[in-house]
Amino acid sequence: MTMLRVRDVGMRFGGLVALQGVSLDLNRGEILGLIGPNGAGKTTLFNCISGLLNPTEGSIFFESRSLRFAPPHERARRGIARTFQNLQLWDSMTVLENLELPIDAAGNRNTLSDALGLPFSHYAERAAAERARAILHVLELDPFVNRLAGDLPAGIQRRVELGRAIAMRPKLVLLDEPAAGLDAGETEHLAELLRTVRERFHVSMLLVDHDMSLVMKVCDYIYVLDFGKVLARGKPAEVRNDSKVIAAYLGEASPELSESGAETVEEPTIIVRSSGPVHDGESAEAAATVVPAASSETESQVLAARGEPLLEVTGLAAGYGRLEVIRDIALNVHAGEVVACIGANGAGKTTTLRAISGVIHARSGRVRFAGRNITGSRPEAIARMGLAHIPEGRGLFPRLSVEDTLRLALDSTGSKAHIEAAYDVFPRLQQRRRQAVGTLSGGEQQMVAMARAILAQPRLLMLDEMSQGLAPTIVQQLFQMIHVFRDQGIAVLLVEQFVQSALQVADRAYIFEHGSIAHEASAAELRRDRKLISGSYLGSASAGEETAIEVAANGNGHVVHPELMETVSMRMPAEIKRALEERAEREGRPAGAIALELLEEVKK
């Protein structure tokens, strides 16, 4: 029996189409998953269903009644509850109060009787408290009953939000990323909890999450959204193997990119590098005033091979508020190297970049850049040392003209470069030099951001989600720019959702999972073995073994013990791992199998 019926819903914000012709059916008692890459419109659809937004087209029916004119509180009373991606608990109220409120949110008693404390109010109050405690007990939250919601760790807060949604006696609960910020163990626990909740409170659920192990495990049926449209739907197993879905998450593999790259960009001999303070051997190469595109490639690779890394991160942990997003991150980038960070949303890639560039504080660990310890330095000081960070969303000033933006960069970094250098790389910006940045297209804006970063004459460029919200052709052009940067000896650390494109340009990649680095591999290896990455994005049926096994089992189907594989992929020092991978390549056998053999030997 259909409980929620979404029909051809469309949502526009000005020119931006967030949802387009989305139809969806949810049956009573079902847990329905809603997945899709960043910006696919999942949260927008949630907001349309819960009434925070009114869709510009289409209609939504709940239990055969239209929700069109119902404000959010009316929908809540009809039985739709929700949780929020960015925790929306009532922080200054206790956990108990947080749950009592939805129990009598309709306010069937009047305010005066509450103020006077009449018996009528008293009994209602007592009943609400009792029910709230019962729910908290089921969710194993008893120890937190009288704590202020705002003082609790994020994981507990997520559970309180779930409890609050249930307290309303809903028929349908919309769960917006309940596993965000949880580690693997907590996610596991959450999956069990969701099933318990469905049994105990007889609710249906609509679940959005980026953690595929959770979605695949608990959902009965899955809808995949991409660019505001339903891309695919089906049972978890069907969706996981759907090539369209994999493409949406990983980006289309575009083999022509790397080949065509050299031809289409016409010999950009660009960046002016005035000789700054020379720290070590690498900068001698970088100090050359004009770097021809082709010749430097081999040189930079030679440099990358020897010498200490340009950027060296060890044991880095960081987070926001009570939430620790990344822990024990260790990575390095050599001069002239392009390194990609890939992994599902919320795996900690962006946070890592932010912690490196000093935008947020590192809680522990060390960041060394160009031979100096920059942990805890101010972001502007780090930027002046030659570490440029283009944040997600580009961080531009929309009302400033292109030229002003670039001049500002020159002034504030004290760079000696000439503005023409940027126009040489991005000729299109010269035509648009008087235009306000906010009126440019997304691709052009990204060019401005990159030009700005380049003018600061960086030695390392960190690009966060460069291709977000851009059309594929533009994305290709931007990726070609990375080749250009590399040729000039600028190292690039890349966070990218178009994984395949990123792997085309990258030398190495780190795969992030749950706030730490799960694998490190050469891009060539990852290109060959798509399964490895799709595992970290889409999870696998027998969660727990998941990705690690796939690495081990690749090729000949030799399955390694999951626990062992865990140690192989996560706890192994990078050097040993690389050696193992090399040996695996030489012998043509999976790395996991070799590791297993070695371990057996050690045991003997």
Partner: protein
Amino acid sequence: MMPGHIVRFAVAIVAFAILARLPVGLDQAFQFDAALALIWGFGILSLVLLTGYAGQVSLCQATFAGVAAYGAGMTVSSMHGGYLLGIVIGVVFATILGVIVGLPALRLHGITLAIVTLGIALVFDRYVFQDHIFDWFTGGTGGWQVTSADLLGIKVDSSQHLLAAYDVLLALFCLVSVLMVNLHQSGAGRRLRAIRDSEVAASTMGVNLTRYKLLAFAMSAGIAGLGGSFYPLIAGSVSPQPFWVFTSLQLAAIGVLMGVRYVPAAALGGLFMAVVPDVLTRYGHGTFMNRFNYDISFDWFQIAVGVLLILQLILLPDGVWGDMRAKLLHARGAAQRKPAREAPA
């Protein structure tokens, strides 16, 4: 009634018994200050409800009090009604204005709402309280004169029976305080606090935002008006000056200073606002140790409030009362925990 309610009423009665005796021996001016302290106390109490509970900003609380004061004055002086009727009409006027001011609050938040309410305060200050078009309401340039009045048979007028008026005000203040604390702990109060903490969460959990925001503004304006409607009684006349824009700003500043989330802060704030300027004008000049002449004018009060507000925001972010209360609770908690820990050993 729940045990909590009984305790609160008992505390209120004790507080009334103590505070009612407080201004007895003082001269008329200080007795007037004591009554005025309660009127501004109501003003801050209304902010506790509106800002402290429901999280809405308002910079026109003195306007609500003023409308009620003029309403009461008009009823008593020009319509020759009893003072009880005057109070009722004053409160009703203020409440209606509160609902009207609440309408923009359905859409606006924070600084924009502050500016809109400040605009309302300015309009009333300049174009209602001081304009001849509204003479029927304001009583013209001289304002309304209230020379003799009684409340349920108790003689309460400024010249002879200031203390009686003070007692009635105090009783009402204690009563409203208790009701507000009750409200804070009840379902309706929770809904208001939910709006303060997260509006989206409140609405998606079934709280009717329109209803509760308007209710908050109406109740708040009514409370401010209840205090304001006593003004003609204790001052003997109504004039625009006490209810001008600056008073509204001062109410907000002192409310935040004392701890806008807590009911007792309203009493502290009212006292501070009414008594300190008077003390300054009276004892602010003289000679210190027969040597240093000093002259602290009333204007210094404004500066002092500003400085204190900045200090409070840094040192006592939850307001004077809020942080004091936290310290007391902490100390009590520690004292209770100690024996408990020793018991098993």
